[in-house]
């Protein structure tokens, strides 16, 4: 039925292609060694993949790009702050932080899902605003309640005034513990094997999840809520579950991300994480209603290669290192904007196609007499 021309493919993969070209141009100019580049990319795959994978489930359920994955990131941070105050170190510390974060993420995901059920069709903008709202509550908790209400003992974490959390919380005690759990070094490239195993497991879970009844329900709900409801699927509940899963995975992903970084920027770590993850996913060729695991990895590689080479290339060309920093932020917003516009135009194009078909039928009919 469908004859897909080369043009169709080019249009579909236009964003990844654009990035391949940018990377190919910038990489030689930046003068970075291939070895350094590969090392950086491998590190960033380990750091970001889990977070970006958490975006897949809401897309499957037709709720678009989950800007409120920031909520999960905040829950993860709270877990880590508490665990580092309890001075539980290394892998056990990470696991405990995850355990602490899960109930918080679940509650936040539940709240978010309920709100999004009231705003069907406008999920993305709503989830974006929710993330700002919850950020306010997070600041209240971290800045005022930690200390007087939630006991915080160690002064290295506390602000000098006696309550609230410092701007940066050091995670030296668990820095790259997961990454280095199984050390492996291939030709000078350090590979975080344990982290990769965790990511691989999540990929398996997602693949398995697609085959479950719940996954099937989510796909159905994502495509047509009314038909699903008529078939007896509990649409609201299914959507809420997808939000909860996404938020919980985002929380765990944030903990993996921060153990690699080695410290928490208490008030800003989470603020742009959603934006960068979504941009990376879109760069990988995903769209608002369709994303795969392949998109995640392609996206990380392309987006972060650009992240690494573009500032360097910018510095080489203009002599100003700020230009590269400016460029990376600019590009992430641009990618998201382009993806959203493409989503809308595709919808409109499908509509006008029906009209063209009518005109064509009419012509044929006349030709036949």
């Amino acid at each position: 039925m469908k004859n897909k021309s080369i043009g169709d493919y080019l249009r579909r993969f236009s964003v990844p292609l654009m990035f391949v070209i940018i990377c190919l141009i910038c990489a030689p100019i930046s003068g970075l060694s291939p070895n350094y580049l590969i090392n950086e990319i491998v590190t960033r795959i380990g750091r970001n993949a889990f977070l970006i994978l958490s975006l897949l489930i809401p897309i499957m359920a037709g709720m678009g790009l989950n800007f409120s994955m920031t909520l999960g990131a905040m829950a993860g941070e709270i877990g880590l702050i508490l665990v580092s105050d309890w001075q539980i170190v290394g892998i056990p510390g990470m696991i405990l932080a995850m355990i602490v974060s899960i109930p918080i993420s679940t509650l936040l995901g539940l709240f978010c899902g309920k709100v999004l059920n009231m705003a069907k069709g406008r999920e993305m903008i709503t989830s974006y605003i929710i993330s700002f709202f919850i950020n306010g509550i997070y600041q209240l908790v971290v800045l005022y309640l930690m200390g007087p209400v939630i006991p915080i003992v160690h002064s290295t974490i506390k602000l000098p005034r006696g309550y609230g959390i410092r701007n940066t919380v050091s995670l030296l005690s668990m820095r790259q513990h997961l990454d280095n759990l199984i050390p492996l070094n291939i030709m000078g490239v350090k590979i975080p094997v344990a982290t990769f195993i965790v990511i691989f497991l999540l990929c398996l879970v997602i693949i398995w999840f697609r085959k479950t009844k719940l996954g099937q329900d989510m796909r159905a709900v994502g495509q047509d809520m009314d038909v699903s409801r008529d078939a007896g699927i509990d649409v609201e509940r299914t959507r809420i579950i997808s939000m909860i899963l996404s938020t919980v995975f985002a929380g765990i992903g944030m903990i993996i991300y921060l153990q690699n970084m080695g410290n928490i920027a208490t008030y800003s770590s989470h603020s742009q994480i959603g934006m960068f993850c979504i941009a990376a996913l879109l760069v990988g060729g995903a769209s608002v209603d369709k994303a795969s695991i392949g998109n995640v990895f392609l996206g990380i590689i392309l987006f972060h290669t650009m992240f690494i080479v573009a500032p360097k290339a910018g510095t080489v060309i203009t002599g100003d290192s700020m230009i590269g920093e400016y460029f990376r932020v600019f590009v992430s917003y641009a990618v998201i904007t382009v993806a959203l516009i493409m989503y809308e135009t595709n919808k409109r194009k499908n509509k006008s196609k029906a009209g063209m078909q009518l005109a064509l039928d009419q012509e044929q009919e006349e030709a036949n007499g």
Binding site: K211, T212, A220, V227, D230, A231, I233
Partner: protein, 528 residues
């Protein structure tokens, strides 16, 4: 002794807000029997089927009167799921399929075969994995039962319309408990060959003991496949006959069947306007309006006439004004008074002095939260700069509240709108009065050509007469050409000079309003 009937509907009654739509309906259905249900739009067929299927809308509007018995046991369905559990299946006019799913997945939607896994014991059975092989087997079986071959692995989006319809039927057949299948105009979207296959498949079902209620406008199909024909009109069952003892003309006359001689006097019986010049000519018009597609319409409207456009629901009559006014994607040529009017540009139509009263008055017709004054004057103000005071040579325009109030009061008086003042909000008026405001809004534009879609839908008899009289008056006194679209043939006949009947998206014929009802009936069923 004869077995008790499978389904018995006794004295079914239903009203919507005091508006009686079904009265004393008695229908029985035996195992393996096929009955054809026919009637005009609004005869009550759909409402009756909704009652049988336990649709939410029935309960929300106060339930129904009478009893439904299945196997001699009284049932009362709280939701369609209860009806499904009791063995009733329904194939709706609109497809209820997931577009990106394969046929198999749609056939077994939410009834998938599952395999247990460890996690499903821990959490819920929604974590069972799907058993694709078993699903394929069941789907294939249902498709075979249907007797029409469709590809179970094809995604719905890629299917021709007919196959989508068959997928829906296969879904119902795959339900083990199915005893009664309701088919609501299943052949409307099928090609002749596919329709033939469907009829064969209905015969097959009937042999296996499934009873079928078959609703269609194609009367030939009813005669060829049904055991009995039930004809409904205005909420009553007017006739019930074995299919072998009747004919298409007979059924048609039962369907439209009012007493023609009774009201004949007020009709325009002859084509009186042959010498009038054509003011609007429509050529090769197509309109992509979902559910009301228009295909290749050629139509000439004469100056100063009232032209009616009639036809059954979903045949495209509503699409014609929407396409011309630029509200739906359209193509073709429109010529008004020697001037070409571009399509898909509402402003150009309004500039050419067209006005349109849409059928959907609450969403398109009115600014519900604004005063009547604003509602009446808004389009005229926007399009024609009326009711504005101009200063500095038109550089600054100020609203002329005095003039707005005056004109609103004038129309309220003329159309007998029941309201507290010209400042009342449009939302607070009743349906009939809202419709009058919609008309006033269009009248305030002083149009040369007025389109009205379903002007009397959902309003009471008194308001109906007023609205129709207002249209006639406008036509007579100011010579405005009116194109009126309505699904009520009777109302068209009383108001219009000529009536064009649309069927299958095309104009199947134009008749003087006083022509015999049977002729209209034939035209209505010609292409659908």
């Amino acid at each position: 002794m004869e077995k008790a009937p499978l389904l018995e509907m006794r004295n079914i009654k239903k009203d919507f807000n005091g508006n009686q739509v079904l009265s004393d309906i008695n229908i029985t259905l035996r195992e393996g029997e096929v009955i054809g249900l026919c009637g005009e739009n609004g005869a009550g067929k759909s409402t009756l089927m909704k009652i049988l299927f336990g649709a939410d809308v029935i309960r929300e509007t106060g339930g129904y009167g009478g009893d439904i018995l299945i196997n001699n046991e009284k049932v009362s369905f709280q939701s369609p799921f209860d009806a499904i559990a009791a063995g009733i299946g329904m194939v709706h006019q609109e497809f209820s399929l997931i577009p990106g799913f394969k046929a198999t997945e749609n056939i077994l939607l939410n009834r998938e075969s599952k395999k247990k896994s460890i996690l499903s014991d821990l959490f819920s059975d929604r974590l069972d994995t799907l058993d694709r092989n078993e699903m394929n087997r069941i789907a294939q079986e249902a498709i075979q039962q249907m007797g029409v071959n469709i590809d179970k692995d094809m995604v719905i989006n890629d299917m021709p319309v007919g196959h989508k319809q068959f997928t829906e039927i296969a879904r119902e057949l795959s339900k083990k408990q199915l005893k009664i299948l309701i088919l609501d105009e299943p052949t409307a979207v099928l090609t002749e060959k596919e329709a033939e296959a469907l009829l064969d498949s209905i015969r097959g079902m009937s042999k296996r003991g499934i009873a079928v209620i078959f609703i269609t406008h194609r009367l030939g199909e009813i005669l060829s496949v049904c055991d009995r024909v039930v004809t409904m009109r205005d909420g009553y069952v007017v006739n019930e006959t074995p299919a072998s003892e009747t004919s298409i003309p007979e059924i048609t006359s039962w369907m439209v069947g009012r007493d023609v001689a009774d009201t004949g006097s007020s009709y325009v019986t002859e084509d009186i306007g042959k010498d009038k010049r054509t003011i609007l000519s429509i050529k090769k018009l197509w309109v992509d309006m979902p559910g009301e597609t228009v295909r290749n319409v050629n139509l000439d409207v004469r100056e100063g006439e009232i032209l009616g456009i009639g036809g059954l629901a979903g045949q495209g009559k509503l699409g014609i004004p929407k396409g011309i006014m630029g509200l739906c994607n359209a193509g073709g040529e429109i010529n008004f008074d020697g001037q070409d009017i571009p399509l898909n540009d509402p402003r150009k139509c309004l500039d050419a002095s067209f006005a349109f009263v849409a059928e959907d008055r609450r969403n398109v017709g009115l600014l519900l939260d604004e005063s009547l004054e604003w509602n009446v004057s808004f389009p005229a103000m926007q399009v024609q700069d009326k009711y504005l005071k101009k200063y500095f040579g038109g550089l600054i325009k100020w609203r002329d509240d005095e003039a707005i109030k005056k004109v609103t009061a004038k129309y309220i008086d003329e159309l007998k709108v029941k309201c507290t003042s010209t400042k009342q909000k449009a939302r607070e008026l009743s349906g009939g009065n809202q419709q009058k405001i919609c008309l006033a809004k269009a009248f305030a534009l002083n149009p040369k050509l007025l389109f009205v879609s379903e002007p009397t839908r959902g309003i009471d008899v008194g308001a109906k007469a007023l609205v129709l009289d207002a249209l006639k008056k406008l036509n007579k006194e100011q010579g405005v050409t009116i194109v009126m679209v309505s699904s009520e043939l009777e109302e068209l006949r009383q108001t219009c000079d000529r009536i064009a009947i649309v069927s299958g998206g095309k104009v199947s014929g134009i008749l003087p309003a006083g022509e015999k009802l049977e002729k209209f009936g034939e035209l209505m069923l010609m292409n659908c």
